[in-house]
Amino acid sequence: MFQYVIKRLVFTIPVLIGISLLLFFMLRMLPGDPAQVLAGQMATPEEVENIRRQLGLDRPIHVQYAVFFSRLVQFDLGRSARTQNPVTREIWARLPNTVLLAVVAITLACLFGIPAGIVSAVRPYTWMDYLVTSAALFGISMPVFWLGLMLVVVFSILLQWLPAGGTGSWKHVILPSVTLASFVIAFIARMTRSTMMEVLSQDYTTTARSKGLKEEVVIVKHALKNALIPIITVVGLQFGLLLGGAVLTETVFAWPGLGRLIVDSILARDYPMIQGAILVFGLLYIFVNLVTDLLYACVDPRIRYD
């Protein structure tokens, strides 16, 4: 197990190098000139050329990558072209906000999504099931920005219970995390429902019932434990995505997270910033996947890593 974890951690190195390569060259294939963007519309060609030289963009592309990579192995992601601040500092400033939002959202999603899915699988085709499945359909199909705006209208403007945006207190976290969680709740509920229905029709569920176990024991101990693998997969993937930042939600609630940072940097062709942010995102994603894989082994004795 320990060896497996080490092996996986070592494996992240080539993956990260792969990401950095792809990222670096794909960014430079984007139309638009960072120097031009930075200099503004009114700049003279000399000014633009000056900025280009400052950014090191006048050198051949493989030299640029070599510089980028040699800094990367020293954990130096360079300076933002837009703000001149070190990229690491900018990311560090945003990352806690993103992680907070992601953790709260995924916790809400598990807390509501899994029980909702179980209820609707245990009582299929009853009003409870219809309630859950239609709520889930709503959650899946609502555009995030619309739902966010509606929540702002109701809870910030009409009821004036919660702030409409920004950060600062736990109250600021509620609306954006609920907005983010709604999709994930719906997704997890649907997944839980279908997996539980399948597990409940398995032979071993009948065996468990034939032993005279209470229905709650059959559902939680015998069925849910078997249904957890796909649920963990979905939770892991969704959590990974949330860590990448949620551009729309962050925009609606003026939440200073990674998502908006990445989008703003892309619009400004801020190469160092984009590269840094995406690499951090990649690293987090790999880590979440590793944890997910390790959780499988905790749940299912048939899965062994050795």
Partner: protein, 327 residues
């Protein structure tokens, strides 16, 4: 009356139907049977004739709806169909337990063998966690699993098919039930393991004084194990007889067909006869033929069989047949 003669389980007029999108499926259609203490009753028939549904109906293990169970099932005088959910739960695994066909899929893959045996003991016998675990180890030893202490901690995927079926039997016997429904307990196993499992069941039955309802389509197993046999076809009982009677003098053409389709080594040379088969297949539950349900496949079919369904003819004690030829 001797203890032996008292019925343990009586089933009268059992109808189990399923409400499906295609219509109502009558899986079990008017089945009567009695199980006595300490006996092994064989329940025989082709796939889809309602054997398993009968067993599942007794323990009410079918989801209702879509299933609907009617009739009367009495176990030691208790009306099983009249019990509430809690009542039937106390019977399951305790007084009546089940052994299922597929040891590969009937055990929970994420719980240890020991836990799966111990949990019902904890529940029904009020044993502590430790006592229940020790009992689980004892049961595993009883079903002749080598290294029971180690095996109790193993998960089902580490056990072979035969081992798993032994564990399943240990689970079914763990609360010392009076009745076990064994639903094709050896079908999924290879022949040498089959014999071992059957011997084991035979021995344990003696030791625990348990009645067994053995559901199978294998007449060899019946000849070895059962004292009395009930033959089912398309949801109905077509013949009942003590086991020797049935093999010596089968009265229903279906039973005759079943017996004729058993290969006997050396028989062809002696009798100059090929292995027989019953033409056709069991009718689907939605296309039950009118008249006698067996008539489209019956070699002795007469006009009357096509028009009218035969009633049961009682030929003696535990000897009945549903056929116009016997009427």
């Amino acid at each position: 009356m001797k203890e032996q003669d008292k019925p343990l389980l009586t089933i009268e007029g059992l109808h189990t139907c399923f409400h499906t999108l295609d219509g109502i499926v009558n899986a079990v259609d008017g089945v009567d049977m009695v199980v006595y203490r300490g006996e092994t009753l064989g329940l025989v028939g082709e796939s889809g004739c309602g054997k398993s549904v009968t067993a599942l109906s007794v323990l009410r293990l079918l989801a209702c709806p879509p299933a609907e169970i009617q009739g009367a099932i009495h176990f030691q005088g208790v009306d099983l169909l009249g019990l509430d959910r809690e009542g039937i739960r106390r019977i399951r695994g305790n007084a009546i337990s089940m052994i299922f066909q597929e040891p590969m899929t009937s055990l929970n893959p994420v719980l240890t063998i020991g836990e799966q045996i111990a949990e019902s003991v904890r529940l029904h016998q009020n044993l502590s966690g430790k006592e229940a675990w020790r009992w689980a180890e004892t049961m595993l030893e009883m079903v002749q699993i080598p290294g029971p202490k180690q095996r109790a901690k193993d998960y089902p995927h580490k056990l072979s098919g035969g081992m798993r079926q032994r564990a399943m039997i240990a689970m079914a016997l763990s609360c010392n039930p009076q009745l076990i429904f064994a639903d094709e307990p050896t079908t999924a196993l290879d022949v040498t393991i089959q014999a071992q499992i059957l011997n084991l069941m035979q021995d344990l039955k003696q030791e625990f004084h348990t009645s067994i309802v053995l559901i199978t389509h294998d007449l060899g197993v019946i000849a070895e194990m059962a004292s009395r046999v009930i033959v089912m076809y398309a949801g109905q009982v077509v013949e009942e007889a003590p086991v020797r009677e049935l093999f010596k003098n089968p009265r229903h053409p279906y039973t005759q067909g079943l017996l004729g389709s058993v290969p006997v080594i050396g028989k062809k040379a002696k009798m100059g006869r090929r292995l027989q088969e019953i033409p056709g297949v069991v009718p689907g539950p939605l296309e039950t033929p009118g008249g006698c349900r067996f008539h489209p496949r019956c070699p002795k079919v007469a006009d009357l069989c096509r028009r009218e369904a035969p009633l049961e003819t009682v030929l003696g004690e535990h000897r009945r047949v549903r056929c116009w030829l016997a009427a």
